[in-house]
């Protein structure tokens, strides 16, 4: 109970920092703006394609186009790329700034555990990121309002879940990187490089590749998004993401603890 209260106190504090500074507003603005732009382009493409499909229909029918497949899925994929860029912004200051300001001493000498501090900071970042996803999804509300046959809502939900899990992996790693330095910028750049590295692992995914490459590809965070964005939540993907997050937080926790010994 006290553990939860402590974690929550850290979450509140971090939200105070996010919303007391431009970080949260910039992140929300960039995210929703890009969501809107991608949505607009995907939508125009969809309209053109469906127009063509309708013409073909007169000459004996074309494929029936699905909003989920043509509109929502590509937008979700694009937003995953945006998450790659924005995640370092959310996590870089979490520990680096505490170390620079010396406030880490306040946290470290308060009767809370390092794990509670790490979890609190991670959950604060995930909370803001979740809010960004929700704000982006508002774009999709338009479709429900105007489309003659609305898209399926389940794939939208699982797509959002995929984005959340996928981004949380970055956030967990970012929390870890932030513990390594007292300089936010260094933390930000390092996180971005690391995220990019993890992202590219997925490119090794090739059915003709050998077992080693398949294993490497399995570790790529993007590989496990595919099914979920299509609307299929496979337990093994969820477990993959959760273990990835746990691993990132474990590293962060170990790093915070080990610094006491070295400092």
């Amino acid at each position: 109970m006290t553990a939860l209260r402590n974690v929550w106190a850290i979450v509140e504090k971090e939200w105070h920092h996010y919303f007391g500074s431009p970080i949260a507003y910039v992140a929300l603005m960039v995210w929703t703006l890009l969501f809107g732009i991608f949505f607009y382009f995907a939508f125009s493409l969809f309209l053109r394609q469906s127009m063509m499909a309708a013409q073909q229909m007169e000459f004996g029918g074309g494929p029936k186009m699905s909003l989920n497949e043509w509109l929502i899925r590509p937008v979700m994929h694009n937003m995953a790329v945006v998450a790659l860029f924005l995640a370092p912004m959310l996590t870089m200051r979490l520990f680096a700034e505490e170390k620079r300001q010396g406030t880490i001493e306040l946290l470290a000498t308060a009767p809370i555990t390092d794990l509670q501090i790490v979890l609190g900071k991670f959950l604060a970042a995930v909370g803001l990121y979740g809010l960004m996803i929700l704000a982006g999804l508002l774009n999709l509300a338009l479709i429900w309002h105007y489309a003659s046959s609305p898209p399926e809502w389940k794939p939208v939900l699982t797509g959002a879940l995929a984005l959340l899990l996928f981004g949380s992996c970055f956030l967990a790693l970012g929390v870890f990187v932030s513990t390594l330095t007292r300089n936010q910028i260094v933390a930000g750049i390092l996180s971005f490089c690391l995220f990019l590295g993890v992202w590219t692992l997925g490119w090794a995914d090739d059915p003709s590749a050998g077992p080693v490459m398949r294993a490497v590809a399995y570790l790529g965070v993007t590989t496990h998004m595919e099914d979920m964005v299509k609307g299929v939540v496979d337990l093994k993907d969820v477990v993959f993401y959760l273990s990835f997050i746990a691993f990132g937080l474990f590293l962060a926790h170990e790093s915070v603890q080990s610094q006491r010994w070295r400092a």
Partner: protein, 330 residues
């Protein structure tokens, strides 16, 4: 309340704290004195569970800092050298956060915050952002944070650094007032602070405890070669020096001031030998008016310098002749 035994902390090859031992009784105010880099901050960080010791043990209220850090942290309020504050939070919000992580129950949180705000007199800046506060206020917000959860032990690392004289006096008063309820360890290199606020002093140099006693005892112990101050009426430096020098046991005589009203001499005598009566007789027998004869203790400042500058100073050199006034002004 605090038991430190043989505490050692090494950073790689450098030894910051080397076999330090001391005890602090409940309600006592202990001054922790030493030049920069002596190991004061490191010792305090170990006591607050921020750093683990390399060797030795430290216990606060019976709990080992290494084995039961949470229990220790619950009982300790701490201000590091630079008070740990979030510049983008307002004072009230910051204290609220501190109360939460210190486990102050939500029912009494507001009352505790009000109490800390009152004690440290920061009520008028409660709604202000910490980033906009002056150094003195920041220090006080740091202090408010430390006393917030009403801890048994307060550990204050240079609580008056960077304050103006008025604030220093206020802070000292505040600390004095907190003694009794709280056990306090405070570090400083402003020496009058120690003699004014602390019941006991631990002087630390190069990681080692070089002296531990009450400020008065330290002064007495190091009086060593017994310095005296002799005031004689009129401009009579030469005659008076003559007279005093003739007394057996007097090592040196120095005229500090000569004026029509009075001449002041500083006399250094052999250790352990009380020459006051002989001096009085010698002066009077030469027909001079003896106005004052006074034993002068070394100020803490001098003791400090004495103990921390040369290791062997104790045995060889006699302590420096103290200034005429035993009081040191801030």
């Amino acid at each position: 309340m605090i038991e430190v035994e043989n505490l050692t902390k090494r950073y790689g090859r450098t030894t910051a704290v080397d076999g330090v031992s001391f005890r602090v009784q409940k309600g006592e105010i202990l001054g922790f004195l030493g030049p920069n880099g002596a190991g004061k901050t490191t010792t305090m960080r170990i006591l607050t569970c921020y750093l683990p010791p390399t060797e030795g043990t430290a216990r606060v209220a019976g709990y080992d800092v290494f084995q039961a850090p949470l229990e220790v942290k619950r009982r300790v309020g701490y201000i590091p050298e630079t008070p740990p504050l979030y510049p983008d939070m307002d004072v009230g919000g910051f204290l609220d956060f501190c109360a939460k992580i210190k486990g102050v129950p939500s029912a009494s949180r507001k009352a505790k915050i009000d109490e800390a705000v009152d004690k440290t007199r920061i009520g008028d800046v409660r709604r202000k952002l910490i980033g906009q506060l002056s150094k003195g206020y920041r220090q006080r917000v740091g202090l408010a944070q430390a006393i917030l959860a009403n801890p048994d032990v307060l550990i204050l690392d240079e609580p008056t650094a960077g304050l103006d004289p008025k604030q220093i006096i206020e802070t000292r008063e505040l600390i004095k007032g907190l003694g009794g309820d709280h056990t306090i360890v405070l570090s400083t290199h402003i020496l009058p602070e120690v003699s004014m606020t602390c019941g006991r002093v631990v002087i630390i140099n190069k990681g080692k405890v070089v002296a531990e006693d009450t400020p008065e005892n330290l002064t007495r112990r190091l009086r060593g070669a017994g310095a005296l101050r002799v005031d004689v009426r009129g401009e009579a430096a030469a005659a008076a020096s003559e007279a005093v020098r003739s007394v057996p046991g007097v090592l040196s005589v120095r005229a500090r001031a000569e004026a029509p009203e009075a001449t002041t001499l500083e006399v250094e005598a052999e250790a352990g030998r009380d020459v006051r009566a002989d001096i009085a007789r010698a002066v009077v027998s030469r027909g001079l008016d003896l106005l004052a004869l006074q034993q002068v203790g070394m100020s803490l400042e001098e003791i400090f310098l004495h103990l921390t500058t040369t290791d062997t100073a104790h045995a060889e050199a006699p302590p420096p002749v103290p200034p005429a006034s035993p009081e040191v002004t801030a």
